[in-house]
């Protein structure tokens, strides 16, 4: 298998001089499958097989569970709004079809636009394609609402990759997290597509009771044709949103009426298992925690940042509990983590090794402050429903500063120690 793949690759390798653009593309896919065996010419260098590309693949692997659940949940939320197939596993084929119809275009657009820009810059600057976009491109669809127009997604990816990354010199040089920067772009440039109660459920004209569904050719002809052939239930183009349905997310309910308003609509089990409306990948907490554990154990994501962030969030909620000016502030700290995207941000966003602090002490401070600031934004800022995206961007800005002072402190301490040692040896 391995040999056949290697043979295949050596057979199709284009000429580097004659077709530089094609060779760049070939190189990207070859190093995706195999670690390159280039060695240095002089001097001894230790190299690990665990290079950047394999590191990124691990993160993408950790995201797979979120992808699967997210796809299914898009469909599940769609049919919950219609009041059909309310059991989680009822109508599974319809839910999966609806989810795929939403997720695949988002993923494809993010990948094509992002990788297109990467390929363009790589051939222009004459270096190998940097694979940084593999992770960003996998994260971006997961943090968007399912019904986001594709051109807005494309625009946000263009902004994030060019301004956020290529301007800084490419992969590993960016200051702000690319995936979050694209979401921030959508958030500030097209706020109605990514906030409020309307956008988190896919395929509806509106979330008000009685409004219709938006089905296209794929629903009515393609999937219905297949399902009819099997004798399964089909998409019903005349379905309308059920009475009493609002589509409000737990966070928007909590902002209006505290924890009572949330539990009136959703159970804690629903919030924990993620069968609630929200961004595509953020909702299912156990699966995200599995991914987080995988990243922490393999050493790709820093467990210090995760623990620090959890700690910071808890401390801030305890302060807010003590303050207790609004109903949202009085929500107990352990319930805060049932709502919103805290765990997703903790596992996959805050731990981005490029934009986080690099020093060990710095990671604790960085993580703690994300938790602290994020909870302030979530609870106290009336303009934004959730805080982690902006808190992480905010702390990305300060991460180099934290590192600077941690390193300065280290230098000072070691200087002192060296001076002390010098003084004692002199005395003796």
């Amino acid at each position: 298998m391995k040999k056949a793949l290697l043979n295949f690759f050596s057979k199709i390798e284009p000429n580097k001089e004659k077709q530089p653009l094609l060779h760049t593309a070939y190189d990207a896919f070859f190093t995706f499958a195999f670690t390159p065996n280039e060695t240095t010419v002089n001097g001894v260098h230790m190299r690990d097989g665990m290079d950047l590309k394999r590191l990124m693949v691990h993160v993408v692997l950790a995201l797979q569970l979120c992808f699967v659940f997210g796809t299914y949940n898009i469909g599940h939320q769609h049919f919950l709004a219609l009041g059909e197939y309310t059991g989680f596993l009822e109508g599974a084929h319809l839910k999966l079809a609806q989810g795929l119809l939403k997720l695949i275009p988002l993923y494809a657009v993010a990948m094509i636009v992002g990788l297109g820009i990467e390929f363009f810059y790589a051939s222009k600057k004459g270096h190998a394609v940097e694979e940084g976009f593999l992770v960003s491109g996998a994260l971006i669809p997961l943090i968007m609402p399912p019904d986001l127009p594709l051109w807005i997604l494309a625009l946000s990816v263009v902004f994030a990759v060019i301004i956020g990354k290529e301007a800084f010199g490419g992969t590993g040089m960016n200051i702000l997290n690319i995936a979050l920067l694209s979401r921030v772009f959508v958030f500030f440039a097209y706020p109605t597509t990514i906030s409020g109660d309307e956008v988190w459920v896919s395929g509806l004209v509106a979330t008000a009771a009685g409004s219709g569904v938006e089905y296209g050719w794929w629903h009515n002809v393609f999937f219905n044709g297949i399902f009819e052939a099997f004798g399964w239930a089909t998409f019903d183009a005349t379905a309308v949103v059920a009475d009493g349905y609002t589509g409000a997310t737990p966070l928007s309910l909590a902002f209006k009426g505290g924890w009572e308003a949330v539990t009136a609509e959703y159970t804690t089990a629903q919030m924990w298992w993620g069968t609630i409306p929200g961004s595509i990948g953020e909702s299912c907490k156990p699966l995200i925690l599995v991914g987080a554990l995988f990243l922490a154990v393999t050493g790709i994501a820093s467990w210090r940042i995760m623990v620090g962030m959890l700690f910071g969030g808890v401390v801030m909620t305890l302060i807010l509990n003590a303050w207790g000016a609004t109903e949202f502030m009085q929500v107990p700290w352990y319930y805060q983590f049932y709502m919103g995207s805290f765990f997703f941000a903790m596992a996959f966003m805050a731990t981005d090794p490029v934009t986080a602090s690099g020093t060990t002490t710095g990671k604790w401070i960085y993580g703690f402050l994300i938790g602290f600031v994020g909870m302030i934004v979530r609870v106290m800022n009336p303009a934004y429903p959730e805080g982690w995206m902006l808190a992480i961007i905010f702390m990305n800005v300060f991460a180099p500063l934290i590192d600077h002072y941690v390193i300065e402190a280290n230098i000072g301490r070691r200087n002192k120690r060296a001076l002390a040692v010098a003084a004692t040896t002199k005395g003796a």
């Binding site: 290529e166 500030f188 800022n381 500063l401």
Partner: protein, 202 residues
């Protein structure tokens, strides 16, 4: 409580540099290393913290209708504010020159240029238009200074870091600094809209 509210609000929510984009010249010019940026940041805190209450006193007791002269002299506001700022900056300059000659040379022309820094004069004018009282204007001055301090050392640390990045040649230096300022402005928008006073009222 008002003191803390206004301090936090001007430092984080309505940051003079990253929300109003005031005081850009020294912010962009002296942010190449954290050390000099730190010195300039302290100078900005000092100047804002001193001039704001003094300007408040002048505005109320010299220029106002209930002041010493008993007539409305507010048309003199600009010239007097600038005079106060200039003398304060002179003071800072002498202190820095005496105690830290290396910082004095590193800051160069940008230290006297704080005089015409729009963040400082803008701060005084904000104070007048928002009708702050004495303690509030002190809080506003210190908060604004702290916000500027934070912004300038943050961008200095980032600029030290991206010195090792492969930035396209056309963007090196100021071009990158402008892009960074924009991105930092986005980051600071996270706190925009929070009003601490709205919560303490209940």
């Amino acid at each position: 409580m008002d003191f803390v509210n206004i301090f936090l609000k001007t430092a984080f929510v309505e940051n003079l540099v990253l929300a109003y984009f005031l005081g850009m010249c020294s912010y962009l010019a002296v942010s190449k290393t954290v050390k000099t940026a730190f010195g300039l940041g302290l100078a900005v805190i000092f100047v804002l913290g001193i001039t704001m209450p003094i300007n408040w006193l002048i505005n109320t007791y010299l220029l106002g209708e209930n002041g010493v002269f008993g007539t409305d002299l507010t048309f003199l506001r600009f010239i007097l504010f600038i005079a106060v700022i200039a003398s304060m900056v002179q003071l800072v300059e002498m202190i820095v020159e005496k105690y830290s000659p290396s910082l004095y040379t590193a800051l160069g022309i940008f230290l006297p240029l704080i005089t015409v820094n729009c963040a400082i004069l803008g701060g005084s004018l904000f104070m007048v238009s928002r009708e702050y009282n004495f303690t509030e204007s002190l809080a506003f001055g210190l908060g604004g200074g702290f916000g500027g301090f934070l912004a300038i050392i943050a961008i200095a640390a980032i600029r030290e870091k991206i010195r090792y990045s492969n930035v396209p040649p056309a963007l090196r230096g100021l071009g990158m600094a402008f892009i960074l300022t924009g991105l930092m402005g986005i980051a600071f928008m996270s706190l925009m809209g929070i009003d601490p006073a709205a919560f303490s009222a209940n």
